[in-house]
């Protein structure tokens, strides 16, 4: 919020003044009201590994993160460039594999990738789009540059909090929106539905779109129901669907009804027990066959996990140059690959200073924060990396930007934040302004993931620059 010189940055000026003029009791009241509203509505999150397995409110801080228009234009351009390259990459590795044959990316990394689906090589995905919905995590370094931390191209979640947070802010600070001029976000469900209808199989006049959820015990279930309701589509579980003659139907009170597009919030592995994991009770037997036959479309397509891979992340700037002949607008965080010999040595020598991540984990699990870790944790990771170097990357600990966040005693203190915009790829690429700002609620913590106790803020992209 404040610049290095301590003065309030121009795009925060209006908000800061309005906040200063508000008596602290009023702010406290509003904070409580927002919390109560969230709990009553059941906007909660199940934290894996929590002893009670209970629902907790996803903590929400009332101080919004504000982004001026010019800054957002830069981010938007960078994200569009990146998703275009990623989709071209996915098409390429599932077809001619030019980028591998040219040696731009060593084939070993793609072929050995846990999520590379060789069964789907030469398969034509609907409208040739692989990642329909992408959540790209951005951080802002000390010099104000936005870096890409990672792409999430399988089942990125969190957009429902973006929409609900905006609703809460509008109720809490109604006057502010008019005075400050914030771009809206509530067209996301319409854009999402438009994209899902766009990828329907050919020849279907009014495609039936459904959302496939693992069920009410999944940590993101609130989001599944929220999006389904906002789009006006059915939400289904695996057991509601049945495949006959290569076509997917849902079990309704009036018999079987055809399904054409599935927005699946299930990882590839769990989709079909006849093809992938046999023990998956969440999937639909025969779904992959129907997909191959072109009778049902899936968003995101099968096989996008390879782009999620943290090792492949290293190569994204090269992809941008290779497919688009452009310099990346948004840079990667400097990264070392444990399977490259020079990088491996550097990692071993500097383990205490680096952040180490397993290639295919998410949610902040499988991660080592070198500077904050104990000797035992560091040694444990040393062994893990030696045993399986292909699956580890390391990055210097970038200081995430901080944002004033209200503490229990009523004061405001800086807490680390990141930003996850949501990129929709259909007929066009659409990005709703802003995205989810996640905040690490514990002092000094850099882990913002909701599944590990982070919270969120509303993100305001201004029409203008202040």
């Amino acid at each position: 919020m404040a610049g290095a010189d301590g003065k309030i940055r121009p795009h925060y000026a209006k908000f800061e003044r309005l906040l200063r003029e508000m008596p602290p009791e009023e702010f406290e009241q509003k904070r409580l009201a927002a919390d109560v509203a969230f709990l009553r509505q059941g906007i909660t999150f199940n934290v894996y590994g929590d002893a009670q397995g209970t629902e907790r409110i996803f903590p929400f801080d009332l101080v919004p993160r504000i982004i001026p228009a010019k800054e957002w234009e830069h981010i938007e351009a960078g994200l569009i460039q990146r998703i275009t390259a990623l989709n071209l990459f996915l098409h390429d590795i599932y077809h001619e594999q030019k980028i591998l044959k040219d040696g731009t990316i060593p084939p070993f990394y793609v072929i050995s990738g846990k999520h590379f689906r060789r069964e789907f090589v030469n398969f034509e995905v609907p409208k040739d789009i692989y990642i329909h919905i992408c959540g790209t995590d951005l951080i802002r370094g000390a010099d104000g540059t936005y870096y890409v931390l990672e792409d999430n191209g399988r089942c990125p979640s969190g957009v429902s909090y973006v929409l609900e947070n905006r609703g809460a802010m509008k109720r809490t600070f109604p006057g502010m929106f008019e005075q400050i001029g914030v771009r809206p976000v509530d067209h996301y469900p319409q854009e999402l539905l438009k994209m899902l209808q766009y990828i329907a199989p050919k020849g279907v006049a009014e495609p039936t779109v459904v959302l496939l959820t693992p069920g009410s015990y999944n940590s993101a279930y609130f989001e599944h129901t929220y999006l389904a309701r906002q789009m006006g589509i059915e939400i289904v579980e695996g057991r509601d669907l049945v495949v006959r003659d290569g076509r997917v139907s849902m079990r309704t009170t009036k018999g079987l009804k055809p399904v054409h597009v599935i927005y699946r919030r299930l990882d590839d592995d769990f989709l079909d027990p006849t093809v992938f994991r046999r023990d998956s009770a969440l999937g639909v037997p025969g779904l992959i066959h129907a997909y191959r036959s072109g009778n049902v479309s899936l968003a995101n397509s099968i096989g996008t996990g390879i782009a999620d891979d943290k090792v492949i992340y290293y190569f994204v700037p090269r992809m941008i140059k290779y497919y688009l002949d452009q310099e990346p607008i948004l840079p990667n965080v400097p990264t070392y690959l444990a399977s490259e010999e020079e990088d491996f040595q550097y990692i071993m020598d500097h383990l205490g200073e680096l952040v180490v991540k397993a290639a295919n984990e998410s949610g902040g699990y499988g991660m080592l924060m070198g500077p904050k870790a104990s000797k035992e944790e560091i040694e444990k990771f040393r062994e893990l990396i030696k045993a399986d170097p292909r699956n580890y990357i390391a990055q210097p600990m970038i200081s995430l930007s901080t944002h004033p966040t209200r503490q229990d005693d009523g004061t405001f203190e800086g807490r680390h934040i990141d930003l996850r915009p949501y990129i929709l790829s259909g007929e066009k690429t659409v990005i709703v302004p802003g995205g989810l700002t996640r905040v690490a609620l514990r002092k000094g913590s850099l882990v913002v993931n909701s599944s590990q106790g982070g919270g969120s803020k509303d993100t305001w992209v201004l029409y203008g620059d202040e």
Binding site: Q41, G42, F222, D245, P285
Partner: protein
């Protein structure tokens, strides 16, 4: 709509109605007991046990409680989580069903049900229960009415809404018969009616109050409380919303709205059975009931209501599920058939027998996920 969703809406409604009815019964009988001068342990047990018996929960009750006292019985009926028919269990199950289909119910309905659920599990509720049961039950009653009103006023009256109505009225009809059954000993068998004691009269009034029928009864019959009139208003009255006849009429109507079939016709067993039951109630009389005996009559009606529920399940909810292994085999068979059909029609050149077999084998390998060579 999805069968699973219809099932959840139906059961959510039934559990909401169940909680409400149990609350009424406990509330009224708690108040009533204050009117009795002396109650020794035996009379207390005799007073409370019929309530437990009416829901068929004696075994469960005695597995967890040594004696039937006011405290143990009311605890069992209100807060015992191991009793699936207690108020707290019913509210929890209603809320759980709602949660599974959150996207199908309005925000207002979810919020109110969630609020009731959170409250009844809170220490506030316990405190209120201990110090002011009247307030406690008042709270539940108001919540129930709010839920009924919210469902009526905000949920779109489509198929899902009619499943909710069906669940509600089926449950209500069932509960009314059980409330009647609690004091079936007061009701005369065939032959001359016995004289009513003061206690009998008070207990009959409690039956009426449990069904919110006190005012309706007075308006229809005057101040004197007679068992045959109590039976009549609760079984056969076509205008009072908590009579069995009224409920079955609404249930029948809801079923037909779901299938779209016209009046006096049926398209499945549940409609057939509800139509028959409605006719019995519409053209029945108290004399026939008394001839059979209230307890036996009520038993028969409960069986009929159960059958309607089971038929509803078969008509709309039940879809044959196969075990995963069987489903996998079926999928493979279908895929092989499809591949062989396609391989014959694909190419304009006539396949030799060997060629067709090879095509099928390749197709089979593809879909079984085996490796190909990639260059």
């Amino acid at each position: 709509m999805l069968s699973r969703v219809a099932n959840c809406l139906y059961w959510m409604s039934r559990f909401i109605e169940r909680a409400d009815n149990t609350a009424r019964v406990v509330d009224v009988n708690l108040q009533l007991i204050l009117d009795f001068r002396t109650l020794d342990e035996k009379s207390l047990a005799e007073y409370w046990m019929p309530i437990i018996e009416s829901t068929g929960d004696e075994e469960k009750f005695f597995s967890r409680n040594a004696k039937a006292t006011g405290l143990s019985v009311t605890e069992f009926l209100v807060f015992d989580c191991e009793n699936p028919n207690s108020i707290i269990s019913s509210v929890s199950q209603a809320r759980e069903n709602a949660r599974m289909v959150r996207d199908q119910i309005t925000v207002e309905l979810w919020e109110e049900l969630n609020r009731l659920y959170l409250w009844i599990r809170s220490t506030d509720a316990r405190h209120m229960w201990r110090h002011s049961p009247a307030d406690f039950f008042g709270h539940i009653r108001n919540s129930s009415l709010l839920l009924v009103g919210t469902i009526y006023a905000t949920v779109v009256h489509n198929e899902g809404w009619y499943f909710m109505q069906a669940g509600k009225f089926l449950e209500r009809a069932d509960k009314i018969t059980r409330i009647l059954d609690v004091r079936h000993t007061i009701f005369p068998g065939s032959g001359t009616p016995r004289a009513l004691t003061q206690r009998d009269t008070l207990e009959l009034s409690a039956v009426l109050r449990s069904c919110s029928a006190w005012d309706a009864y007075k308006a229809a019959y005057g101040a004197e409380v007679r068992p045959e009139w109590v039976a009549e208003i609760l079984l056969f009255n076509d205008e009072f919303p908590r009579s069995v006849r009224f409920c079955v009429e609404k249930l029948d109507d809801a079923l037909r709205r779901i299938s779209g079939v016209g009046p006096r016709r049926f398209s499945n067993d549940s409609e057939k059975l509800s139509g028959r039951l409605l006719a019995e109630l519409a053209y029945g009389s108290t004399e026939e009931v008394i001839a059979i005996g209230i307890h036996d009559y009520v038993d028969q009606q409960q069986v009929k209501l159960n059958n309607i529920g089971a038929a509803l399940f078969n008509a709309y909810i039940f879809q044959p599920f196969m075990a995963l292994e069987d489903e996998i085999v079926v999928q493979q068979e279908m895929q092989q058939q499809q591949q062989s059909r396609e391989s014959f029609t694909d190419s304009p050149i006539r396949h030799t027998q060997a060629g067709a077999t090879k095509a099928r084998q390749t197709a089979c390998k593809l879909q079984m996920g085996n490796e190909h060579d990639q260059t």
